[in-house]
Subunit: 248 residues, 2 copies
Amino acid sequence: MLSKNTLKFIKSLQQKKFRNQEQSFFVEGSKNVTELLQSDYEVSHVLYTQQFGNDHVKLLKSIKAEVFEVNQATLESVGSFQTNDAALAVSKSKPNIPINLKSDEWAIALDEVKDPGNLGTIIRIADWYGIQKLLLSEESAEFYNPKVLHASMGSFTRIRFYYTDLKSELEKSRLPVYGAFLDGDSIYETKFGKGGIILMGNESNGISKELESLVSQKVTIPRFGQAESLNVAVATAVICDNIRRNTK
Amino acid sequence: MLSKNTLKFIKSLQQKKFRNQEQSFFVEGSKNVTELLQSDYEVSHVLYTQQFGNDHVKLLKSIKAEVFEVNQATLESVGSFQTNDAALAVSKSKPNIPINLKSDEWAIALDEVKDPGNLGTIIRIADWYGIQKLLLSEESAEFYNPKVLHASMGSFTRIRFYYTDLKSELEKSRLPVYGAFLDGDSIYETKFGKGGIILMGNESNGISKELESLVSQKVTIPRFGQAESLNVAVATAVICDNIRRNTK
């Protein structure tokens, strides 16, 4: 039986304050919920419609969480989606643990990327390009924000992230830092090594002065038209694509 | 003097119905308004804050539109932005006129790309990569939707667009059609010609069966990780980047 207290608990997780306090978050929609249930996240509750239940009998039996069949209106009343005819799942969040980078791997570092949609899209891009580690400045969007998770389309389950002081992190790293600027070297000509950190800046202000001095090489996506810039998630994808096609 | 009727007229343009009826639209924020005022669009009204007025004296004098200095609250009451401390401008929209494609130029065709943010981001990408022509299926997002214009960051002023029946359009075109699929040839190996149509599909369903048969070559962005797909705007950028680096 799904209690009022449980519903109240889930609803509270719409707010960052309670996500931090409870060290829990929720995801919504068929794609994100099925990815979550197949991941190593510790899921505590799953609310699902009859249809979702019929479609995922085995998956729902395979997990330890409390599961509840509910109607669509209940899903929409506790979650953030206007329309959700599938499922919602609550999970424990992962602790903020330092990430060790090997010399032959790639990571993405975000300097105050604040828009949740951009962060979620970057998580999906990282997962597409096989980049599993994400360093985030403390002022960046929150990983477990429902809009971030939604835009990540399930990829959040495969990405390790670490909120940290990027300055000290980049200072102590031995990996080359490729920073995205509008006046750097063309990514078409850049010789990317076997590993490194791709540093992307804030939506309005780009990479901060403080971090600029820690960049090993400024890189730029060649422009053929007149737009002033590209969206930060779009630019991240184009840079990842150029790195992978160069080093595969 | 800014009349109540003018305010009511502007506010009505939040709705597609009135944008169509009046053949007018508005844009908001400093970047989009300044780009609009410097474009060949026929601007009818500009509402701006004192600060914006001080920053753009010459620009405001150079245009024929009716201009009004207003406070921020007025901008926010008629527009769609929660916060707008700069300006809002109303313009006549451009008629839906067929686009002729030359054999050595590129165009992007969108098959039911419905999310306004995606369309706006694609417009910005097209402008970055110097692709000025956009073909849209009738079911795609509306070009003059405030969310589209906002995401385009002023690039909408430089892009020609045409809403049409894509099937008949692609049938009569002599240009090669490169369609984005998950099971096509690698864009790293594709020999792109000097011109062509880049066809992108709906966010959930991809390119429709009806159009699939009109695709000259199915292309795919190589994947190095586990994400199921990329966002349609992100994929458009990566494909444009590969075309431009191949043919520059």
